[in-house]
């Protein structure tokens, strides 16, 4: 990937992470860990891949994204804000009464393509969108992001079977493999591993990538776009809490908001990173 583009993406990702922390801190609740682990992915998708139109969010031919792991709404909202769908300052209203930024993605929010967050359901909706595209010969692409814990839901595998059966090559599912879910390590709670083999067995083309290296992410999506006749699953090996040192790989940060001291520490880290990137 071009170095200046990569730098630009890193800046966007850092600002999205700041938006996540702002949102969760002001909400005094929410899910920072899994939001931070998909910040780079959402940056890459919204700033290099997806044809979306902040001035016309409902444009019929737009690419679509369903955040199946909807509890990480802060990441989606911050990415949409960074992409220009609404002001980043709005992150401070996340989960507030009367605010439009709901605790889980809501279709009425500009840029949000599907209400989601009851785990396992988003991928089915993404299949429906992809099927509509195939049915009408539209050219849009559908992305859906799932948690690695989320794929314990049976509906995910109903959808996986469906997508392969109908050859939905306009659908890419990204599995955020950060290894942690609420009750602990995914391998200790009720292991969904081996994840690549499962998707392969269901007829998907599987690619694995690092989740925080834009060169590798780009390589994975370039490989994905060459696949035809079957859906693609990109399993991204990520770090829960990525970008905030004390949140990284800590299961406790799945669904806990930082207190003021922690908020200031996290923001200081991200601001320092941003200053370095912009230097």
């Amino acid at each position: 990937m071009d170095e200046s583009l990569k730098k630009q993406l890193q800046i966007h990702a850092c600002k999205i992470r700041m938006g996540i922390i702002e949102g969760v801190y002001h909400a005094k609740s929410g899910h920072p860990g899994g939001s931070l682990s998909i910040a780079d992915l959402l940056t890459y998708l919204y700033f290099t891949r997806m044809h979306v139109y902040p001035d016309n969010p409902d444009f019929a031919e737009r690419d679509r994204l369903v955040l199946s792991k909807g509890h990480t709404a802060p990441a989606l909202y911050a990415a949409l804000a960074e992409r220009g769908f609404f002001p980043m300052e709005e992150m401070q209203t996340l989960r507030h009464i009367g605010a439009r930024l709901q605790g889980h993605p809501c279709i009425s929010i500009p840029g949000v393509d599907m209400s989601s967050g009851s785990l396992g359901q988003g991928i089915s909706a993404a299949c429906g969108m992809a099927l509509a595209g195939k049915h009408r010969n539209d050219n849009y692409h559908v992305y859906t992001i799932l948690g690695d814990g989320e794929i314990e839901e049976g509906q995910v595998w109903e959808a996986a079977m469906f997508a392969a059966h109908y050859g939905l090559d306009n659908l890419t599912a990204i599995i955020d493999n950060n290894g942690l879910q609420i009750d602990g390590k995914i391998t200790e709670v009720c292991s969904p591993e081996p994840i690549p083999e499962k998707f392969r067995a269901f007829g998907w083309y599987v690619i694995e990538t690092d989740a925080h290296d834009f060169d590798q992410i780009d390589k994975a999506f370039r490989e994905a776009e060459r696949v035809s006749g079957q859906p693609v699953a990109i399993i991204q090996h990520s770090t829960k809490g990525k970008g905030v040192s004390f949140m990284e790989n800590q299961v406790g940060w799945h669904g806990t908001a930082p207190n003021t001291e922690q908020y200031e520490k996290a923001m200081a880290e991200l601001k320092a990173e941003l200053a370095e990137l912009e230097a």
Partner: protein
């Protein structure tokens, strides 16, 4: 009555989809391996390129329907009521109801008239479940004519609609040439002053027969067909409460949460009069021929007449 034409509303559903396909080009049909039974197979035969089988995976089917609707299609997601409303409830609630997507659910084999398959498939809870979802329209047509009209009304309504159809062939009581379906509007089929029977689905015909019997006994029964359980025609119901002072409801559904509950809620709030509910009395069904089951569970003209007499005597 042997010359009365009979048809199962599931059959009407399949035929209506075919009849409306040309007019509504975004109409698309999903099923979950029950196309032969739900009668979407009729549509599949005519429009194979607009039919998608989801396999035995109702949860995913409802989610796929949501995605199709979000992308501008008008999907009819079809299965038995047990699986469409029951198994997939939470997907219907969260992926269709909450985003208020334009999905139509075609639920067949509702109620105990499923017959021999028994309790496992006899869904008597679907109206209750669907009625609680904000913004969900719930329709339970009485016959072939009404069922076909309901399918088109569902298409014309922007938002989620649950349409309930039956397996059993039932008498055609409406005239296809003059019938007009108005979403959310009850239909007064017979005027009367002593008691009002408010019925839905296949019990509408039974209510009419009961009214005829009772007329001979000097009891004047008003019969109202409520094909739209939600939004409920409260005005018509309250008016009936005011004018007849006594209500009997009849439905092939649990007495908990369906038409009877909805009517009782409306009447209690605006004009409290006694409401007697005929339905499945908080019990599961069992195997047997549909006609025998309906009789056994009191879902018959005879039982409606009995309850009306009781209502009159209590006045």
């Amino acid at each position: 009555m042997s010359d009365v034409m009979k048809k199962a509303t599931r059959e009407s559903y399949g035929e209506a989809l075919v009849a409306l396909a040309e007019k509504y080009e975004n109409l698309i049909v999903l099923d979950a391996d029950l196309a032969a039974a739900t009668k979407t197979g009729i549509f599949k035969k005519a429009y194979a390129d607009r039919f998608y089988d989801c396999g035995i995976a109702e949860a995913n089917m409802m989610g796929v329907a949501a995605g199709l609707a979000a992308a501008g299609m008008i999907p009819f997601a079809s299965s038995f009521a047990m699986f469409a409303a029951g198994r997939a409830y939470e997907i219907v609630r969260n992926s269709i109801g909450y985003p208020h997507l334009n999905v139509k659910i075609g639920a067949t084999h509702a109620g105990i008239s499923v017959g021999e398959d028994g309790a496992m498939h006899q869904c008597c809870e679907d109206l209750a479940l669907m009625r609680t979802i904000p913004g969900m329209v719930v329709i339970n047509p009485a016959d072939d004519v009404e069922a076909k009209a309901a399918v088109e009304a569902a298409i014309q309504h922007e938002g989620p609609v649950y349409c309930r159809f039956g397996r059993l062939a039932v008498p055609v009581i409406n005239d296809p040439d003059t019938y007009k379906f108005e979403l959310g509007k009850g239909v007064t089929l017979r005027n009367g002053s002593d008691v009002t029977v408010i019925a839905t689905g296949l019990l509408v015909n039974e209510a009419l027969i009961a009214a005829e019997t009772l007329a001979a006994e000097g009891i004047s029964v008003r019969v109202i067909n409520i094909h739209t359980i939600k939004p409920l025609d409260k005005e018509l119901i309250v008016q009936a409460a005011q004018e007849t002072g006594s209500i009997v409801t009849a439905e092939e559904h649990s007495v908990i949460g369906g038409l009877g509950s909805a009517v009782a809620e409306a009447v209690c709030e605006a004009c409290p009069v006694p409401v007697r509910r005929i339905g499945v009395n908080d019990t599961f069904g069992h195997s047997g021929p549909a006609a025998d089951l309906l009789r056994q569970f009191g879902l018959s003209a005879e039982h409606i007449a009995e309850v009306v007499r009781e209502a009159v005597n209590a006045k």
